[in-house]
Amino acid sequence: MTALPDIWTYLAKGPLLWLTMTLLAYVIGDAIFRRFNRAPYANPVMIATILVSALLLITGTPYHTYFEGAQFVHFMLGPATVSLAVPLYANRVHIRRALIPMLAALVAGSLTAVLVAIAVGMMMGLDHTTLVSLAPKSTTAPVAIGISEKVGGLPTLTAVLVLITGILGAIVVTPTFNALGLTDWRARGFATGVAAHGVGTARALQINETAGAFAGIGMGLNALLTAVIVPYIVTWLL
């Protein structure tokens, strides 16, 4: 019979263990999220990330060993990004009807998200690489990670910042808009998709169907705009 530590040593090296752990952590995160009535602070990705990170730290497993298993999940981000064409196409009538307000809000919201983040980051004395990794954080994770790789940021740091952006956005969006007396669900949803990508979109869908549809459009359009503007902004400002 093989001793348990030997089995662990064997399994910890291959992709099977960490692929399974990634999926399992997400299943647990999602169950907790449902138990908390889908409250934005009980975000399943955040819970899964904390669970897997804790497991890596406890077992002393290096990230690259973990990633050999998790890369199969990570790879799917590319095809998932391409697939965003489907909801965008499904909403083409909405897009055509409110095209001008959306384009204006897209440019204004997207620029605000990038420029204010860089300005506050500079004031707080953040490192150059940290600022570059921060710049694309308002767009959907697969795109933000791709941009971060392109402009010399740390893709994994960007991924964490994207996640934090989505969660904070989902938490502040409803109280903020209610306090400001904003009643146009299209505007509320669209701005949420632009500023807080998929996590914000999921939150908008919970609150109002129109807001959800427009959030999806905002997220999709900002994926395109952020990918175009961030490399230029990073070159000019950083």
Binding site: V86, R92, G109, T112, S138, V160, F190
Partner: protein, 120 residues
């Protein structure tokens, strides 16, 4: 099903190839997204075909962020030294982007649609 995967991966591959070939600064999959969207507009039959596969992929979208998110274990020292600055930058920029985006939408909608429609 397999054909749909070929179409999605094919657009990603075309996007990556164009980005590398032309030295563009946007991620390949984003160009693939744009290409697939234009293809849908030109050939609606492709949209009907691909949509179920794409929606299956998007249904579990948030799970796909976990491996990259776990990368935080590589940046614990950054989080320790710059975590507060990052948190403030994210919170301020996200809240302001929400407000600026929503009010721009409402303002421009009022100008282009007239006050009645903008209220719906």
């Amino acid at each position: 099903m397999i054909l749909n995967i070929v179409i999605i991966l094919g657009f990603q591959l075309a996007g990556e190839t164009l980005v590398r070939g032309l030295g563009l600064s946007l991620p390949g999959p984003v160009l693939g997204l744009a290409g697939l969207f234009v293809t849908f507009l030109l050939f609606p039959a492709v949209a009907r075909m691909v949509s179920s596969t794409a929606q299956g992929l998007l249904a579990h979208l948030s799970m796909l962020f976990v491996p990259a998110g776990v990368g935080v274990v590589q940046h614990l020292s950054i989080m320790e030294s710059e975590g507060l600055g990052l948190l403030l930058a994210v919170l301020a920029s996200t809240t302001l982007a929400l407000i600026v985006g929503a009010f721009t939408f409402v303002g421009v909608a009022r100008l282009t649609e007239g006050p009645k429609e903008a209220k719906q």
